[in-house]
């Protein structure tokens, strides 16, 4: 029980670490989620065993609370400090509170946050942060919302930048909330509006590159129009008004009265964010009742939008309301030709899944047109249960066919019908599977904004080049891959790419390039993040690893192995690999998140030239191609992707090393032998490798010979989790074999690790 609660604390800290990565100044909703996490941590069972951690949590909660209450500045720099605090908490957890260094630095950090200048001067960086902060951005002429200190209520005449905060007015009485009368309509509005807002964001970013493209302007204008219309119909006055004023501005832009400039883009982005907040709030109302409703104050925003529209911030004039009857606006998207962010048509066979390399700069109209097609929305649960049922069908068919009474029949008609039946079922299975696949485009497109904001903030010039957005990924994985991806993109921009000045000194072009690629290879979906920045400092990593006793002084690890040590817990990129201050959150959270998806992540880097991070994910969480092997009375499935060959070894090629390690010579290379029966404690048929069969597998660039009794065949299997049994070392899951029994699917990472107890394992304090 104690181990369980300890593990809970660890995973909780990881979650906090991931969450702080997501926080952006001005986005208090995520800060709120963080508060909940910290609060939960305080109440976890077993936290009493970590008094230091508990104390830290309390201190952390109080500073975050102050930020939320606007008593401390809501600035990036404070979040960086909080990130470091969380890093220290992880550190303290690992050392089981026996290390008071973390606690001391923690207290110092908290002090630093609390002593930060009061809110109005929020934009000023603290002196030590300034030294690390690169020179002011030269690219963006627009108002930087993070650094423009605005009085909370702007004077009516001058509205030069986006309002700083979203103020909330007293909520009206529940009876007054007319929009609650038709909940179904409201639910539809919420989901459609969120889609609209996403499409707006994507299009506005395109517009930055093609500011005169009338088609894109229309694509932004229309969703605002729809949102306004439906909001009016539902009597959501705030949303309607805000969307309306923005629509007016865009109408001017469309008609050439107002130029499409940086300010307009800023307006659209900020208004989009605000609308999103309001709609998210409605979602909460739908989920938890009308008392959740927040009556946001939009007057500042409307004033700002109007002042931008008038072109002269000093003289805001009221735009004439346009004659658009809200009731005429159709509540359904279908009637409008507005661009919905493409969703795959569930019934259509998936588009070419091979990666057609194309850059992010392709004309935006093309992919969207292609994807609009005919499509219907389906409840995810229904889809999942369909996929499960089809999986059952396939298994059942195999079971019926292998029934001994049926297997002896040789009626040609029956055999033909069986063949036909299996064709149909496998077709059905393929289609059902493809329904769960969605292009990764949406996730990638969110990175455009991220990189844009990051480069603006750090004063770096970064070109994001995307390839293979069409590549499909299991929809169950889309959400889980987002956080690690954001973390790594941040890493590449923050730590990888150097400032323009530095780059020029090195003879590189001013603008750094971050490549974000997706493609399919074998049974994997690969995502690559490559930058042409400074690369990892392998020597520093080595020293740090020695210091942490992860490797020995004379360790002969290759650069590749050393670089990949950054994925170990406590190996923060902040103070070791680059000198740029980060959030102190290690890459281990990325690794854990990716491994949860049964994927892997590796780093390849060349100092001075840049780094390449490769995430490899299984295409689907549901099916793998595997070889069934037998060990004693048990059967296991080895994923085909990892298998190189299988052979019956000769006795001459077998050797032992110092009486302990066993090796096998295969085609000139010496491979360590893993006796599966020993690892899994089952009784084998053969005890000597030369009687048995070895399967040569590749794991992290090394080969291993796994010893089994017999190969039984190759089969596509549906992966199932083992009920409540998860995280069993060496076991990725189970499947149901032809005879109805459960077979275990092997997890090579776990097998290799539990076999070798590799030198790069975390040194556990006693």
């Amino acid at each position: 029980m104690a181990e369980n609660s300890t593990a809970m604390i660890a995973s909780h800290l990881d979650e906090m670490a991931l969450k702080i990565m997501m926080v952006e100044p001005g986005d208090l909703s995520i800060v709120g989620e963080l508060v909940v996490l910290v609060e939960d941590l305080q109440n976890l069972e077993g936290i009493e065993e970590f008094p230091t951690l508990k104390k830290m949590g309390q201190a952390l909660m109080s500073v975050i609370g102050q930020i939320v209450m606007n008593e401390l500045p809501d600035s990036a720099q404070n979040y960086d400090l909080i990130g470091q605090c969380i890093g220290l908490m992880q550190e303290s957890y690992r050392k089981h509170g026996e290390d008071d260094v973390s606690e001391k630095s923690f207290t110092a950090l908290i002090g630093e946050i609390s002593n930060a200048s009061p809110v109005p001067e929020a934009g000023l960086p603290a002196p030590e942060a300034e030294a690390e902060r690169p020179s002011k951005p030269t690219v963006a002429p627009q108002v930087d919302s993070d650094t423009s200190p605005l009085p909370t209520t702007p004077p009516p005449a001058i509205v030069s930048g986006p309002p700083q905060e979203m103020r909330i007015l007293a909520s009206p009485a529940v009876e007054a909330m007319e929009f609650l009368q038709d909940l179904e309509l409201l639910t539809g509005f919420v989901s459609e509006t969120l889609e609209h807002l996403e499409s707006i964001e994507v299009n506005i970013l395109d517009l930055e590159d093609n500011p005169t493209d009338q088609e894109i302007i229309n694509k932004i204008f229309r969703p605002f129009h729809t949102i306004k219309g439906v909001a009016g119909f539902l009597n959501l006055k705030n949303i309607q008004k805000l969307a309306h004023s923005t629509e007016n501005l865009l109408d001017d832009v469309r008609n050439g009265i107002h130029a499409m400039d940086a300010q307009v883009i800023e307006v659209v982005l900020k208004v989009g964010d605000f609308l999103k907040t309001m709609v998210e709030n409605l979602k909460e109302v739908l989920a938890n009742g009308p008392e959740q409703y927040k009556n946001y104050d939009i007057t500042d925003y409307v004033a700002w939008v109007e002042s931008v529209q008038s072109g002269n911030p000093a003289v805001p004039n009221k735009p004439a309301p346009q004659a658009v009857s809200p009731t005429q606006a159709p509540p359904a998207v279908a009637a409008q030709s507005s661009p919905v962010v493409p969703r795959p048509a569930p019934t259509a066979p998936s588009q070419a899944s091979s990666p057609a390399p194309s850059t992010a700069k392709t004309p935006p109209a093309t992919p969207q047109k292609a994807a609009i097609g005919e499509s219907i929305k389906v409840d995810v649960e229904k889809l999942d249960s369909l996929v499960n049922a089809v999986g059952e069908l396939v298994i059942m068919q195999a079971t019926v066919r292998s029934n001994p009474k049926i297997a002896v029949l040789s009626d040609p008609k029956l055999l033909k019908d069986f063949a036909q039946l299996s064709r149909i079922t496998s077709e059905l299975q393929k289609t059902a599977m493809s329904m769960r696949m969605v292009p990764i485009r949406q996730t990638f497109q969110k990175m455009i904004r991220l990189v844009r904001d990051l480069s603006k903030k750090t004063g770096k010039e970064v070109n994001l080049v995307m390839e293979g957005e069409e590549t499909e990924i299991d929809r169950n994985m889309v959400d889980s891959i987002y956080d690690p991806l954001v973390h790594m993109m941040r890493n590449s921009v923050d730590h990888g790419v150097q400032t323009p000045a530095e780059r020029e000194k090195l003879g590189k072009p001013r603008a750094g390039v971050v490549n974000l690629r997706a493609y399919q290879k074998g049974g994997y979906m690969v995502i690559e993040i490559e930058d042409d920045g400074q690369g990892l400092n392998t020597e520093k990593i080595r020293r740090k690893a020695i210091e942490r006793e992860l490797i020995k002084e004379n360790d002969k690890s290759t650069n590749y192995e050393l670089n990949n040590l950054i994925f170990l817990p406590g190996f923060s990129t902040a103070d070791t690999i680059t000198d740029v201050s980060g959030r102190g959150v290690g890459m281990d959270v990325v690794k854990k998140a990716v491994e949860k998806l049964r994927g892997k992540v590796e780093a390849i880097s060349e100092p001075g030239k840049g780094s390449l991070f490769v995430i490899r994910l299984p295409l689907t969480m549901a099916i793998i191609d595997g070889i069934i092997v037998r060990v004693g009375s048990e059967r296991y499935i080895i994923p085909t992707t990892a298998i190189q060959e299988s052979l019956k070894p000769k006795q001459e090629s077998y050797n032992t090393v110092q009486g302990k390690g066993e090796t096998l010579m295969v085609r000139g290379s010496v491979l360590p032998i893993i006796r599966l029966y020993k690892l899994f404690q089952v009784k084998p048929t053969y005890a000597d490798p030369w009687d048995a069969i070895v399967v040569v597998v590749d794991y992290e660039g090394r080969q291993w010979a796994i010893m089994v009794d017999e190969l039984l065949g190759k089969q596509e299997v549906v992966i199932k989790n083992l009920g409540g049994l998860s995280d069993i070392p060496g076991v990725a899951g189970g499947t149901i074999l032809g005879d109805g029994r459960v077979g275990l699917i092997l997890d090579l990472a776990g097998i290799v690790q539990s076999h070798s107890g590799h030198s790069v394992q975390e040194s556990q304090p006693a």
Binding site: M1, M8, E634, G723, G724, I728, R741, V742
Partner: protein, 167 residues
Amino acid sequence: MGAAAAIDNSIGEGLGGKYLTFSLGTEEYGIVITKIREIIGIMEITAVPHTPDFIKGVINLRGRVIPIIELRMRFGMEVRPYDERTCIIVVDVPGPTGTVQVGMLVDSVSEVVNIGAQDIEPPPDFGVSTDAENIIGMGKIKGKLKILLDVDQVIGRTLASTLSALK
């Protein structure tokens, strides 16, 4: 621990209801019927490595893979070979991510009985023995005692601690 204390206070009240009784050796046990999914005969079990002995492995329950806990081993009782009366009682217990189904391997299933709240006594005090936590009370039926098990505790907690021990 907190949960056990809470149960102590509410002994008798709210515990009355229908119980499925089964036997392990000479002892008779009961579990609340609402926790039970179904009862199936013994079938071939696939062993799962790196798990404690009392986790016999996993079975295929109509396409779903569920773990099987041998209750005799869980209670440290002597193991005996399975026979035609050996049963698997499939129960719903809280898992790390929502409810999971787990099979309990028992000697034989007896009957479903109605036990009134007045017929339930608090669990006996075994001093330091932690296994008393697994018991919500002792039911009296026709002069015989049935040990009423807290399934969430016996199965759910066992599973959870097994998993965390693996990490």
